[in-house]
Symmetry: C2
Subunit: 501 residues, 2 copies
């Protein structure tokens, strides 16, 4: 059996290499590629992703998985070997339904659509993007059809990013959370003046903002010997091995906290990648579904840590020194309140911890409607704006501030958005468990000791890669299923203290 397992691993390693190489090309496309490279890059990505798929769906892989099934059943469920065989069995059964031609076509189409989206966003003109987006949507619908019959055409897409998650489950979670958030937004709206965040708009030097982002991410445990920080229009993390996980961030001239929180968010993702158990690298357990788990790590660092009083008790003096004299007069409490101000706003990635969830609900419902044909691609701008008004009471003045703001659709990532919010929910559950295990953790954070946080997350989440589904991990780590209540409790407490209700 060891021989068959080795054969399977050798095949998976090659496939992993092709996927990682494609990631390098995508990273390059976002950060360094000249405009002239667009067409050829689409071809390169089509070939790499197509070949990876082709090598995965061979009969040989299927037979190895068949042969290894009885072996896996003798092993502990959570062993690396049993997990590898279990997860790959599922991925294989899904992958064989999808033709290589679709994978190549999708890689090419999204590579080009991404470029068109950048142009449309820069020129604030949805119509420039519409045809490309329609092509991308058609491809996603076609993909879903490979998994028919389904309860909802959106189900296969959700499953692509977080295994076993379907529309009904997400709807149930969001149905519980949404009214609570809406109520909270209203309660806060009545006390909007209680928090002043104007200090975040002080114009700070961009180079020093980036340097501070680097300081924060490094201190939290992101290893720059195994990574680097670049600037891109839409911050992202890209990992090619545990030894090379790169992050990007941005500088917003209107709000210096965006560079801070983007740097911390992406560092959270990147530490997840850097702390994978080394033996899982180049297996199928280092890529694929698990994005809500991934977002739980980035949102944990961004929100639970990066918007906490303890964290800034420690880091405010450093920040003031780096930007001296521009923040000399800033005290902890006003700063803590400013970075936690709750206010309906147009852009998801600028949103606070409360309204963020509503941005996600909007996208989830809109994707569901789009894929089910209840909304047409051409109608997306007006649908977007109508729902923004309904959920947050504001209407984007431009498409760039509305339907064009996110990169995801250009990349074919329909079904990904819910994972951000599910990650936020899970992050709170992780935080409760961490506090139980490490009662002194808030004190450690306030004293600038972050090894405890990273060590706990490494042990319970990061090292496992894709071994477990979100429900499995939730049960293992927190002892209870994923739930929206702890999150709502957390934001209600936190905002209640800040806003005084």
């Amino acid at each position: 059996m060891q021989d068959k397992l080795d054969q399977l691993k050798a095949r998976l390693a090659r496939i992993s290499d092709l996927r990682r190489a494609a990631s390098v090309l995508s990273w390059d496309q976002e950060t360094h590629m000249p405009p002239g490279g667009v067409q050829a890059r689409a071809e390169h990505l089509g070939t790499l992703r197509g070949l990876a798929h082709e090598l995965f769906i061979t009969d040989e892989v299927g037979m190895l998985l068949d042969d290894l099934q009885p072996y896996a059943e003798q092993l502990p469920y959570d062993s690396d070997e049993a997990s590898l065989i279990r997860v790959m069995r599922r991925e294989y059964d899904k992958a064989v339904r999808v033709p290589v031609a679709w994978v190549e076509q999708n890689a090419r189409t999204t590579s080009l659509a991404h470029h068109t989206w950048v142009q449309a966003k820069n020129r604030n003109q949805f119509s420039l993007f519409q045809d490309d987006l329609a092509r991308v949507v058609d491809l996603q619908k076609q993909w879903a059809e490979y998994f028919a019959p389904y309860d909802n055409i959106y189900d296969p897409l959700l499953d692509r990013y977080e295994r076993s998650l379907d529309t009904a489950q997400v709807s149930a979670v969001f149905a519980g959370m949404k009214p609570a958030l809406v109520e909270l937004v209203q309660a806060i709206a009545e006390r909007a003046d209680a928090v002043d965040d104007s200090l975040l708009r002080r114009p700070l030097d961009a180079q020093r903002q980036l340097a501070f982002g680097q300081v924060l991410s490094a201190r939290l445990g992101y290893d720059y010997q195994r990574g680097r920080l670049d600037v891109s229009a839409h911050p992202f993390t890209s990992g090619f091995s545990p030894g090379d996980v790169r992050i990007t961030t941005l500088v917003d001239p209107d709000n210096f906290f965006r560079c801070v929180k983007s740097s911390i968010h992406e560092a959270g993702h990147a530490m997840h990648g850097q702390n994978l158990k080394p033996s899982l690298f180049r297996t199928g357990l280092d890529w694929g579904a698990g994005m809500a788990i991934g977002e739980s790590q980035s949102r944990f660092y961004e929100n639970i840590i990066g918007r906490s009083r303890a964290f800034w008790a420690y880091f405010l003096p450093t920040m003031k020194a780096i930007f001296a004299p521009l923040l000399d007069d800033v005290a902890l409490e006003p700063f803590y309140r400013a970075i936690n101000k709750v206010e309906p706003s147009l852009i998801r990635v600028k949103a606070d911890e409360v309204t963020y969830g509503l941005h996600i609900v909007l996208r989830f419902e809109l994707e569901d409607d789009l894929l089910n044909g209840r909304v047409a691609v051409a109608d997306l701008p007006q649908e977007w704006n109508a729902r923004m008004e309904a959920y947050l009471g504001i209407v984007p003045p431009t498409d760039t501030d509305g339907v064009l703001q996110d990169v995801h659709w250009s990349s074919g990532m329909f079904g990904y958005f819910p994972d951000y919010q599910l990650g936020s929910l899970f992050a709170v559950q992780l935080w409760e468990a961490m506090q139980r295990d490490l009662p002194a953790i808030s004190g450690d954070i306030a004293a600038g000791r972050f090894e405890g946080v990273l060590g706990w997350l490494r042990e319970h989440v990061m090292q496992h890669g894709r071994k477990f589904t979100l429900p499995e991990l939730s049960e293992r780590v927190t002892g209870v299923p994923l739930s929206w209540e702890p999150y709502v409790h957390y934001v209600r407490e936190k905002m209640g203290e800040i806003y005084g209700f």
Copy 2:
């Protein structure tokens, strides 16, 4: 037949994509990859290069080439189709002799050896690199054995970089050139004081040096919409498509002309890539052997243009303005003489047009001896130093200034060095032909009009990709075979005027 040709092209396009993707990964490794990425990158490159090879040496490709042979014979020799079939036939017959395992192993070994070489060079310690180099050399010997019987084990390696070139031919060319260069070096040594290049050591701001390199390369015709300039330890060009050909350069604090000439040299390579006939992209005619032709383009721009009086008659005022006031007092003649000073020196890439050839002869002879077992890897440092003393009269004080100076061996590029000098020789023959075709070309250059140069090179050389061998191209463009005499005549005339003999 069109159908079979299309099938062949589809297969070659995929293979081309894999090779180009590997080039992106190599470019990234040189310019942006963090140290932790070394091991995984070696695996990624092994997989990409191994798969490209595996896809090429299939029976299907062989049968398509067999079937297309009669068709190719009906077409004009220089048509794209006949050239594709002819060149791929030859590449295929060679490739099938080489196992995939060798290709993977070579990619991994050289990727790691490159990293070791960087460390050894930084620490000035050949012993750190010795074991890796021995592994690389063994792999190259093994590769040559796949082509046994040969006249000289070095032949298959030379052929790898420039088709149909063998040790005997290179020896014959160098045997003619070498005494002439040695005599010229001696004649100049007697008048060494005639040229003062101290002005090149004025400390100029690094950022402005890079900006000037960008200005020069752009004005010569390198299109930055389809490329970019970065900094790396060893300047190089890397092309992923005609729409994305990137260059790197360096800044030498001891000599500002190095940034100038590196930028121009790499721009020459890159224009070659950018000006490929678009229909040859993603065919087998856009990669592979042809490095002497490639170097003829870079060396043409670096030397024939970039060290000419006409070029600097035009660009000196711009340079003075960019670096004002540090070069305000510099006049054309002293500058022209300074950048053409002939002086034996330790580093090949710093060498003048005369001694450069002797650096190449040294490497050619040393590689020949190494591969034939007349010199051992462990003895390379002392052999290097002894030959430097014999040919140039100087002995490197350190390995970094001697045997460790070039990147090539770490990448397994044995057999490449001669192409630099053959490229220099061919560049002079191209220059003679260009002057016949365009009698006003020197005046154009002095007036800052460079379209004529690029247009002529595009028509006669660049657009053809790998269609022709160096002898074929030489006959087509210049009407005579490749020869060393025009080069020696050119440097003798040029240096005679400068040094007054």
